[in-house]
């Protein structure tokens, strides 16, 4: 007869034990979200409190001619970033893991260097890249390009290029996070598997596709969710880099929300957009988890 598993105190009646956590979550997460929902169906502005129920803000925001462009820009910004963040993060994590396995010096310094970008605040990130992308005749990147006979590039003044520049700035900062996730997951893979693969004479690509990638599937799903939500909420670095311009070329949904509240003073409209952000973020999370997050690690 197998012994009964040790279920621990309170396993039979978990509710009282969970209550404190539920109350904290409700106070710090659910209440603000519900308050945003309340504001979304009101006529509140930054200078006038809500006077009652109104769907005017909801209708005005959803029929705003600017919204499709903003959503399109957001979709492109998030999609490119999520794919690139995964690829770059994975590449760096595997490079470091391989370097460490071979006993190469400087791997810790390399890892720290990548992480340094992650701790830079978004506003500072935007300012740093705005200096690098400066299109003046003495601008940093264009001057470097000129040395090799290339450029100049309209990094920030061309609408399409401005979005590419915003993506580059976000990648520089966000890659470290993906690298950490993949590095931790890679270190968790049993080294015996690689030893067996080596004995069998499997090449690097075969090892990657047959061992590393399948065993990183869960980490990829989790990372996709996290970087998607992070990128969806990115606005500070874009605010400092382009302000959303030229025109609306780099105005993503979170920046549009910011502008709606602080230029329009439209609290109700901003609340509608915040809910839209919440719904999109939740939808992406559920979609990713449904597609790939439930497999075995």
């Amino acid at each position: 007869m197998r012994p009964a598993p040790d279920r621990g105190p309170g396993a039979a009646h978990p509710a009282p034990w969970l209550l404190p956590a539920v109350l904290v979550l409700a106070a710090f997460y659910a209440v603000p979200v519900l308050d945003v929902a309340r504001l979304a169906v009101s006529d509140a502005t930054l200078v006038r409190p809500a006077s009652g129920f109104s769907t005017q803000a909801l209708r005005a925001i959803l029929t705003d001619p600017a919204l499709p462009q903003v959503l399109g820009t957001t979709l492109l910004f998030v999609a490119v970033n999520v794919v690139a963040l995964q690829l770059l993060g994975l590449l760096i994590a595997l490079t470091i893991a391989r370097g460490e396995r071979r006993g190469l010096h400087g791997m810790a310094a390399f890892r720290t260097l990548v992480l340094a970008a992650w701790v830079v605040p978004g506003i500072a990130n935007g300012l740093i890249w705005s200096m690098l992308f400066d299109e003046a005749p003495y601008g940093t990147l264009n001057s470097l390009l000129a040395y090799v006979g290339a450029g100049p590039v309209a990094w920030l003044s061309d609408p399409r290029m401005a979005l590419v520049s915003a993506v580059i700035a976000n990648l520089w900062q966000g890659t470290a996070f993906s690298m950490i996730v993949f590095y931790a997951a890679r270190r968790g893979i049993d080294p015996t598997l690689y030893e067996v693969a080596a004995l069998d004479g499997a090449g690097p690509w075969r090892v990657f596709t047959a061992i590393t990638l399948p065993l990183l599937r869960r980490a990829i799903a989790v990372n996709t969710v996290l970087v998607s939500v992070q990128t969806l909420n990115t606005f500070d670095s874009i605010l400092a880099l382009t302000g959303g311009g030229p025109g609306r070329a780099t105005e993503v949904l979170s920046l549009f929300t910011f502008n709606t509240v602080f230029y329009n003073l439209d609290l109700a409209g901003g609340a509608v957009l915040a809910l839209l952000l919440f719904v999109i973020g939740m939808g992406m999370t559920l979609a990713v988890l449904a597609a790939g997050g439930r497999g075995e690690a």
Binding site: T45, L46, V47, E135, S157, G243, P246, N259, V261, L265
Partner: protein, 432 residues
Amino acid sequence: MKPTLLMAALAAAPALVPLPAAAQDLVTRNRVGLADAPNTLTFRLTAYDLYSSDPATSEAFEDLFSDFIEARPDWKIETQLQTGNIGQEQARLLQQTQAGRGPDCAMIDSSRLALFKDTGVLQPMDMVFSEDDVADLFPYVREAVTNEAGEVLAWWWFTDLRVLYRDTSVVPEAPQTWAEAQEAGLAAVEAGREGLLFNGGRWEGTAFDWLANFWAQGGELVDADGAPVFAEGENREKMLAAIAYYQNLVESGASPRRVTAIDDYDAFTAAAAAGTASMFVGGNWQYGQLRATLPEEQFANWAVSELPGPAPDQRATGTGGWTIAALSEDEEKRRLCGEIVKEIYAGPGNAAQGLLPTSAAIYDQYDAYDGAEYDLFAEALENGVARPGAAIYPEISNQIQIMLGNVLSGTAEPEEALDAAAAAVQAAYDRQ
């Protein structure tokens, strides 16, 4: 205890012993006055004076604040810094004040003053300012800072304006008209310089600087009730003409395409210092910056003139600046707020930074305003136009920034961009 820890503890001990009051620093990063002073005034200010990154400016204001608080030993001023994000900071200030959590005294951007007045949060400071003080203000300033009852609700302590800077070695004669500005820009490009630089990025400076071209034609953004009318009737034609001016500058090559990414006046100073600029639309305060930045012989080439207009006799320039207002109902605090303005900022503070006073008398009172450039600034101020005192202005500005960005980057035609801006502003106005 390890020896190193013991040494560290001994080294830190003096910091824990209370210093005599006289030895305490009167100006810290968040306080002016003695920490144990019984009365407290909270003051939200910008980072351009007392906490300026320019040592000369911050030292001048430290002296002024020290003298001020030494004369009032029962008071301390708790200072709160605003960031440079004017829209966000001012919206937050208004919201906090309405909720009863605002500071007692605060700097309010002149473009937001009307919004604060409309919401009734500003408290009178008449006990400090005499009728003569008010009468000496420039008319547009006097109107902005007083209410219908004649109460002083804020003090506009400095104003500014936009002018055309030019390197006279490349552009000897000041362009008087839009056409001349374009010709001068093209000539500068031929001479190997950048043409006419201006703000074209997504920020307030872009809309405000450009609006001078609309105002020069007599255009109006809002009607007497504060409703947007900038895209209606004659205003529409004036808007389109002003858009065409900037569009022609960029499309002809008289201005570089990079202007749509310029969202900071410092970019012009940097270009002048690098020797690549020939002309730019800048603020009057940049004259002092250029003098401090450029070598003497290089600075000697730079001159300022009024912004070009559609015709020589059609000129305008946007006037801005900052105000200080009392937000507390407490009479003592209102008085102290007014005295801060009068004894520190309006007058000595102006002179310390070379900022343009809003009272005619101050120009005669300080030697700092003896330079020839101030004659030009005073002349240009006669064509000064302040932003309208309407709550919809921030959104008008936002839409003008988008409109100009789209036209100058070639993603929209002027009429289409103007229609989109007008529709967006009207929708926002309908819901305010």
